[in-house]
Amino acid sequence: MPNICEEYDVVVVGAGHAGCEAALAGARLGLDTIMFTVSVDSIALMPCNPNIGGSSKGHLVREIDALGGEMGKNIDKTFIQSKMLNSSKGPAVHSLRAQADKQAYTRSMRNVLENTEHLTIRQAEVSEIIVEEGIIKGVKTFSGAIYHAKAVVLCTGTYLRAKCIYGDVSNYTGPNGLQAANHLTESLKANGIEMFRFKTGTPARVDKRSIDFSKMEEQFGDETVVPFSFSTNPEDVQKEQVSCYLTYTNEETHKIIRENLDRSPLFSGAIEGTGPRYCPSIEDKVVKFADKTRHQVFVEPEGLYTNEMYLGGMSSSLPEDVQYAMYRTVKGLENVKIVRNAYAIEYDCINPMQLKSTLEFKTIKGLFSGGQFNGSSGYEEAAAQGIIAGINAAMYVLGREQVVLDRSQAYIGVLIDDLVTKENHEPYRMMTSRAEYRLLLRQDNADIRMRKIGYQVGLVSKDDYDKVCEKEKMIEQEIKRLNNITIGAVNEVQDFLVAHDSTPLKTGTTLAELIRRPELSYELLEEFDKDRQKLPDDVVEQVNIHIKYEGYITRQQKQVEQYKKLENKKIDESIDYNDVKSLRNEARQKLMSVRPSSIGQASRISGVTPADISVLLIYIEQFNHEKYVSTHNQDD
């Protein structure tokens, strides 16, 4: 046989944000890992917006980092502007967002990958998966080369049968004109995998020299930058930042769009994929929110290396001439020159309900998947799934226990649970409102939540883990101490309170009680705390949060206890829902298609009622009992 045939522990298909994290996880855990990409130059490419993070996405990056992932470190090295969003709101919704230098980001990630032991990078299009008797055996490339592997992770992003469209122009290419992967879909279908077709879009990139920034509002980064990674020294990220600019569409823009709607492939039916509602094209916004007289346009640099600017808020699939006409109605863009057109992109992805919470396919052992291939959207969502799919592929190969994060542990848990449990008809985006226990899942405590898991898996060093343990201890001790310091209603205290617009004391209280007041804080009350030791900033932050929001946090913890009870009721994989007589038909069908792993997951499936859950509980008791009896009898 002239064809190449190699052996690996783990094959990762795709080198986007999911693929990078998956490959790094596998290789860092000591497994021989190979990562395929249609172009080595497109490793960790950011084909759409130039940001990492944002509301709830920033949480994901923090969690990835705490688990031992790379995204946070990489953006800390390559950002050109950084902001903490929602900083005037509660701590649960504070969220970091950075503007990336796109090329620096790509290069830096590539550098990390190329210098990771056990990791091979290979430019080739994977066209088939090799499955024998329900177990993955490897992949085959378009050229016929075979790579045997114990586990395979699919992270094909938007490349499967990708089609870029604007106006009546459509190209069968991936993002940025990169080669699409046109063959794998057939192989997946042949192996019984159900496919969806999704759509997303991106705005035009324009030449900075053709923009009149004086007509726009300049937007600066934060004065003090907070790094994404728990491993980054905050001092290293204090650097000069570049600005973004804000301008607006107007009635004239909208008029042009409305007049040319018939030329949009979205409205003419040339696009069959389902697009995301949270990231609508400008024509979608104009149609859906017809009463709005203007929409925001964020003009953001693509990097320090280029004059290209990204026109956030104006993605479109209108024809080239209409794009020009509408962009030029926007204040400051009157003479704009387009470098790259806006376009919509359609691609194949899977119905993620075919996956377990571990991101392994239910019907094919050893086959895992992550990222936009699973019907999500966004770099951060992709990376989050990538690291979990990579970890679990490695755990599978090593014969170790799989890692499942639940909804009370991490945004990653919410993301994956939503994907594998709920019917999803558009690219899934993380949102803070999807996390029901968000007061516990803050970006500031992602290390406390995730480091231990990362350490157990083997991606976090003993040193880093010990640091978190030490931090936790300090927080706990300090809170205890503050609860035991009594403050009398003496003059100096009363004067202090009055000076800070705070109600004077009627009787003595504790320092913790005073910290709880919205207008006061740990730092402010220093003068009444004689024995205070100097603590690290991140410890002080946690102490403040814990004391201030104790009531809410305790309430959520109670809810989590309830939730865990249902989560811990596991459903045996071999259960046949046809045997559960009293179930309603709708519930039976839903349960059969999702095959939930726990009663908790079952209860989140739409169309399954509490009564169905009761019925199921009873059946499971019976089932377990019979199983117990039959194995018991065999022993005799």
Binding site: Y278, T432, S433, Y552, I613, V615, I618
Partner: protein, 458 residues
Amino acid sequence: MLEKETIAAISTGMASSGIGIVRISGKDTVNIISKIFVPEKNKDMRKVASHTVHYGNIIDDGHIVDEVLVIIMRAPHTYTREDVVEIDCHGGIFVVRKIFDIVLKNGARCAEPGEFTKWAFLNGRIDLSQAEAVADIINAKSSIALEQSVSQLKGKMRDIIIRQREKIIYHIAYIEAALDDPEHINVENYGEELIIDVDNILKDIEILLKTSENGRMIKEGIKTVILGKPNVGKSSLMNMLLGEDRAIVTDIAGTTRDTLEESLRLSELQLNIIDTAGIRKTEDVVEKIGVERSINMAKEADLVIYVVDASVPIDENDKEIIKIISDKKCIVLLNKTDLECIVNTEDIKNIIDTEPLEISVKNNTGMDLFEKRVREMFYEGRISFDEEIYVTNLRHKEALKEACESLMLVKESIMSGLPEDFYSIDLMNAYEVLGKIIGEAVEDDLVNEIFSKFCMGK
């Protein structure tokens, strides 16, 4: 669901019966009973032996609600294999309801249909061969309960709840959209706007909650208390209304020393009539207790029948009674009009703002007037049956109360200056519990609302 909290239910039917039973099961059972039950000799209920019966009083806010027998049964030898307590109380619906409310207030939750049986099964009490039957029961009971609550909710009440939920989800969606996309949507100072709407929603829900009293009256009868000085003919009236000698009647003032409850159908209305001890200043210890009780009963009544003896002058005791019933729906009966009248209709109207009815229990006259007056008050008066906005279902009432509590927490968060993201937590809870009333799960409402109402994203 699998929330293994302590559950409670009224085990006896809602119709008036001689005895009522409230049953509690779960981890907290013994704690709850020791909070609300004072046994004789002040025994510690946490320490008494299992499967024993105890006599004592149910207490609420320091007041005696009823004298009861409490049966305490500890796990595992109980129906559910958890700690179970049964409270055997007097059969009046109000008493059972009141005790049930107290149990809920102290930490139990209202049991789902068939839930005792479910736990009995899940804890291994019921044989496995019965599993399917149990499942069927639960499904059947849930569907009946759902059907009942849904049919109850056609029309206006359902509309009101849907409207409140729409308002609530709009606010949550606005806040959440702003948090998710802070550069597009501004939520600064949203509390000022929100608090106005929260107040409006609270007002509407509170109105619904008030109708729960009317709803209860339709379902369980109108709590009617006969009140008056001693020997004005209260017990005779009661006997006459019931058509039997239920109360002991003598010429001696103060014969009735305790309350007596009976149910009476007046056409389609059910009156639960409570005869009370006559009210007067007295030094007799036993009679004093009776008087106290009468006053308490009157305070909780839906309707007070104030009986005045036309042959005896109005005195201080009458003024005392009028004070007690000043804010009650009241019918004044001028009895003994067969005798020489010292008190007439005008005298009554001078001291209480209502037209008295002249009757004679002895001659059985004026009863038609009485019946007519009752019907007038409940049909043409403040309540109209066509509106269909009555909360008759206890579960609905509980849900409405919980929604109110959550909305109060929202107000509290706004007033104490917490950031906006905290508002949506309690708003969501209110939204969810209101959804339970109309049988709607939350699912993806919020995400859908966000995307349909607010223009997001870059």
